[in-house]
């Protein structure tokens, strides 16, 4: 028998870096970037319109509404959805996941690397336009800080949840849209438990607690509304790693 029996394994951090690079290269396409930059620009434009308007009774409330309604109900979840479901879901669907799976690597660095790639693309596409919007909307320093904090928390949480969804179901984007629009948009308004199971509830709580403007679902204090989504993200990533270990690979 021949040689070649040396025990080569890829150290976790290296596996994470390799996955990160591959997934990032697959995620960033010109079409996706252009479309989502455009959407971010629309958000900023609406914010600017509100910012210069002099027909408003309560400028801060109007500003918060723009950021919360446009930014955190549409822009952030959808950007995260596009990239996080694709991060491993695309690889699974087109049959290239095997090139990261049948390797002397652990599973969790693959999940973590893919998630990091999704966050890397998602953060600038959401936090920059929302940050700009929060300045243009003229809501004051507290709103800018709250927007950036909530944006970062939301991208982290949504990306982890949708990455898991991408490994669990085939048309994860459609399921994710249903979650964002139907669950967070409708069901969460009906009760405390569904509201606590919505990322939206926490991002709105962050904004409420920092600006003092009341928002639906936004009734938590700052610490839990930052910590709970981060914990949910960690749990989702652990589940994703487990799923990656137990799933069928094409």
């Amino acid at each position: 028998m021949s040689a070649g029996t040396s025990m080569r394994v890829v150290e976790p951090l290296r596996a994470l870096r390799l996955t990160y690079r591959v997934v990032l290269a697959q995620l960033v396409t010109r079409g996706r970037l252009a479309a989502l930059v455009l959407v971010g620009a629309v958000v900023a434009a609406v914010a600017a319109a509100v910012g210069v308007s002099d027909e408003i009774d309560d400028p801060l409330e109007a500003a918060v509404r723009v950021i919360a309604d446009l930014g955190f109900t549409a822009l952030v979840p959808i950007v995260a959805l596009v990239f996080a479901t694709a991060a491993l879901g695309d690889l699974r669907d087109d049959g290239t996941l095997v090139y990261l799976w049948l390797r002397p690597m652990d599973r969790w660095p693959v999940v973590a690397g893919a998630w990091a790639a999704a966050v890397t693309v998602g953060l600038p596409l959401t936090v920059i336009p929302l940050g700009v919007a929060s300045v243009l909307v003229d809501g004051g320093g507290a709103l800018v800080g709250a927007t950036v904090l909530a944006g970062v928390v939301a991208v982290i949480a949504y990306s982890a949840l949708f990455l898991l969804a991408g490994l669990l179901v085939r048309n994860a984007i459609v399921w994710g849209l249903a979650y964002v629009l139907v669950w967070e948009g409708i069901v969460a308004g009906y009760g405390n438990i569904p509201a606590r199971m919505s990322v939206r509830g926490y991002t709105r709580s962050i904004i409420t607690s920092r600006t003092g403007v009341d928002l639906d679902l936004g009734d938590l204090s700052l610490a839990p509304s930052v910590i709970v989504p981060l914990v949910a993200a960690a749990v989702a990533l652990l589940l994703a790693a487990r799923r990656l270990r137990s799933m069928d690979i094409a």
Binding site: S2, L102, R103, D106, R245, D248
Partner: protein, 321 residues
């Protein structure tokens, strides 16, 4: 949390006699569809061809061996462990999957380099260049593999499977899309690797391809292992089916009549200078033909078994069930 259990046995180089891949009582069902049914075999160094019609379960069997999908029943071991669970053994497997899927936006060199990096190869650039050389691709080509032709993509896949110098190479339909020259080259490469002690499992549904890959075959049909071993040996086991033998001789008509008269053949067809006989007892025929010709004063030019080939084995095993 995802690292393999620390208690898993260390992979050691097994003694030469122990199989490199062993499949024991393996069944695999997808819902109601049974893709693989109670299959047992083991393979060692050298080239083994996995032969079967489309949809017979070849790819499923390969996926099971690589751990890409767990068996519904039975065990699949590579070097004594389950590739699904054991991180180390995955580094000793090279797989060229059937689906035509690559990271389309990378160049061939980057793609194969990535394969080397994810196998913890010390010098990925050098390893990638070497693997691309094996399959006759230019490492300097900057074009993304998404723009490659089918045959070139097939070779990129092969290069990626070879880059870690694997002990077990699993190649699912590796010759599809290749032109005849490349096909020859690849077959030669497979033989070289097999001679070097690697275990190669190569699937195909094209019979003459398999015949050139080597004589060791696993025939799979409808999810079951129909036969395993040297196909010439398999042929001789199939005694309930007439063998067909061509005899080139003068006066074939007289010879045919004598063969029939002595019940040495079940049937015979005669042309101007030859006859083709069907017999269920090749040995008796072989012993009798020369004395008989001498007796009749007929000169024999050639006696050749016509169906001692893979196709007849295949037909017998697969199509007659």
């Amino acid at each position: 949390m995802t690292s393999p259990p620390m208690t898993s046995p260390p992979v050691t180089s097994p003694p030469v006699t122990s199989p490199m891949v062993s499949v024991t009582n393996v069944s695999k069902a997808f819902g109601d569809v049974v893709a693989v049914s109670d299959v047992t075999f083991s393979v060692g160094p050298g080239v083994t061809a996995l032969l079967g019609p489309n949809g017979a379960g070849k790819s499923t069997l390969f996926r099971l061996m690589c751990g890409l999908t767990p068996p519904s029943q039975g065990t699949v071991h590579v070097f004594g462990v389950d590739a699904r669970r054991n991180r180390e053994v995955r580094g000793r497997i090279g797989l060229a999957p059937q689906q035509d899927a690559l990271f389309d936006r990378l160049s061939a060199r980057r793609f194969v380099e990535l394969a080397a990096e994810t196998h913890a190869i010390a010098d990925p650039t050098e390893a990638a260049a070497r693997a691309l050389g094996f399959v006759d691709l230019d490492p300097a080509e900057a074009k993304p593999v998404g723009a490659y032709s089918k045959g070139m993509r097939q070779r990129v896949k092969l290069a990626a499977a070879l880059v870690n110098d694997p002990d077990v190479l699993i190649l699912d339909e590796p010759l599809t899309g290749l032109d005849p020259v490349q096909r020859n080259r690849m077959i030669r490469l497979f033989h070289d690797l097999g001679d070097a002690g690697k275990c190669l499992l190569v699937s195909s549904h094209v019979l003459d391809e398999v015949a050139r890959l080597g004589s060791d075959v696993l025939v799979i049909a409808q999810g079951r292992l129909a036969a395993a071993g040297d196909y010439r040996a398999l042929r001789s086991l199939m005694d309930d089916r007439p063998h067909r033998i061509r005899v080139v001789a003068e006066q074939p008509r007289a010879l045919a009549a004598a063969l029939l008269a002595r019940s040495l053949v079940d049937g015979v067809s005669v042309a101007t200078d030859q006859l083709v006989a069907d017999t269920s007892d090749v040995d008796a025929f072989g012993r009798a033909i020369a004395p008989l010709a001498r007796e009749l004063g007929v000169r024999l030019r050639e006696v050749q078994p016509l169906d001692d080939d893979l196709e007849s084995v295949f037909r017998y095993l697969v199509e007659r069930r």
